[in-house]
Symmetry: C2
DNA sequence: GGCAACCAGATTGTTAACGATTTGCGCGCC
DNA sequence: GGCGCGCAAATCGTTAACAATCTGGTTGCC
């Protein structure tokens, strides 16, 4: 076993830059939570990597109590795993879990799409059309990173248009847990083309004010992501 | 304003008995969380009531740190609201929020029902049939409290049969937030009869192994609960 | 009599030190 | 040489005291 005890973290992405986080007075725990979560999402902290309290204290300059509260919250959010007297580790989400998460997302985002279709105003439609065009150019230019980013923006836009705070909370939580798979799926050959077609259908249904069609297309889209995850599994792809 | 500062708690249910919670070694925070959550669900702590740390310390015999962690977790679960330097209060969920929560439940429980229909074995079907019969006798006997209890057991059984841990987590969280409305809906005139019919349809669909029918009936059932909530609103019913 | 500043009590936030548990390593025994 | 035991370092959990903040009532002034 290696010195740090856990799964060997692979080299961090070149796109990290640490973000020292100015501990604004009275928001320490929130800052630490955001910083650690961001580190997990961005790949600075690898799945299975240990997160000793002392290390986070020196990293973020926060007190141990703050770090402790932050870890408790992150555990509650499902991105960190803690064992008594054994410390905290970045939780490893299996492919099976990612499938479950995406299935759950499919129904909740379906609800959001339906609500968005019912509530979308002219400005909302304009916003979605902009995103649709941006997605189109990204796919045309084979810009996978841009595709992935705008992809997420589409989902977030529909979520915001739906104005359903409960669904929004649930979705934020679910997305954080499976974020690391999003890029992977986007990298599958042909995925951007399929995704573009599906997103276009969703946007059209929402803008047409058809809740049923919006829900169905959104669900179909995320179930196709589930299919892609299974394909990943078939390829023995592992983190 | 009264001495305790918050909304006046109505007299607690006769069914509380405090549950002093034997602080088993190494599970203090979990115990406090469970105790406070239970107190909120059972009505010992009313919505809006203040929850001073010192009071919880004396109530449960836990250290202040444990109480503090527990409150943080309860805040994260959405049943407690905390303001900086102003302490914690039991969160008041509005009827609009209860509607949102039930809408979210409808789609996620729909997913569970579909999965349950696909995965139910003979023992699962037997379990559901027992619950169906118990629900029937409860409604025949006009036993509203039994109806409400078995009602929840049906939902929980389907959730367990679905074996979808992500959906289960989401649902546990959502149910806790809106628990106090469950009894109220069950008390609406004619509600047990309607609920019985709907639950029977759900159980039949799950036992028939028809995922689509199971999902549709479950969604229809919870949307009918949403309708009941709106009727509550029309009656100017307030907590 | 009304209003504003102020002071005391209560409550929460923070920090530091102490105690308990686990883990890795070295030593001795078989 | 392999295996089990025990010690020491590291890490987490808990407690207690201190500091900062808010609330409510009181007092003095206009």
């Amino acid at each position: 076993m290696t010195a740090d005890g856990g799964t060997m973290p692979r080299p961090a992405d070149p796109t990290d830059a640490v973000a020292p986080v100015e501990s604004a007075a009275g928001e320490k725990v929130g800052d630490v939570v955001a910083a650690v979560r961001d580190g997990i999402v961005k790949g600075r902290f690898a799945p299975g990597q240990r997160l000793p309290e002392a290390e986070l204290v020196t990293l973020f300059g926060a007190s141990r109590g703050a770090v402790r509260s932050a870890l408790a919250q992150l555990e509650n959010e499902g991105v960190v795993l803690r064992e008594r007297n054994r410390g905290a580790r970045v939780r490893e989400v299996s492919l099976a879990e990612a499938v479950e998460i995406t299935e759950a997302r499919s129904v909740v985002e379906g609800l959001c799409a339906a609500k968005a279709a019912a509530r979308a105003g002219a400005d909302d439609r304009a916003r979605l059309h902009v995103l649709r065009d941006e997605l189109h150019t990204a796919v045309d230019g084979a810009d996978v990173v841009a595709y992935s980013r705008i992809n997420q923006q589409v989902h977030r836009a529909i979520q915001e248009i739906a104005r359903h705070s409960t669904a929004a909370q649930v979705l934020d939580r679910l997305r954080i847990q499976s974020v690391r798979y999003h890029y992977t799926v986007a990298l599958l050959p042909g995925r951007p083309t399929v995704g573009l077609r599906e997103h276009t259908a969703i946007i059209d249904a929402v803008c047409a004010g058809d809740p049923d069609a919006a829900e169905q297309t959104m669900r179909a889209h995320l179930l196709s992501v589930v299919e892609s995850l299974h394909r990943l599994d078939a390829q023995q792809y592992r983190w």
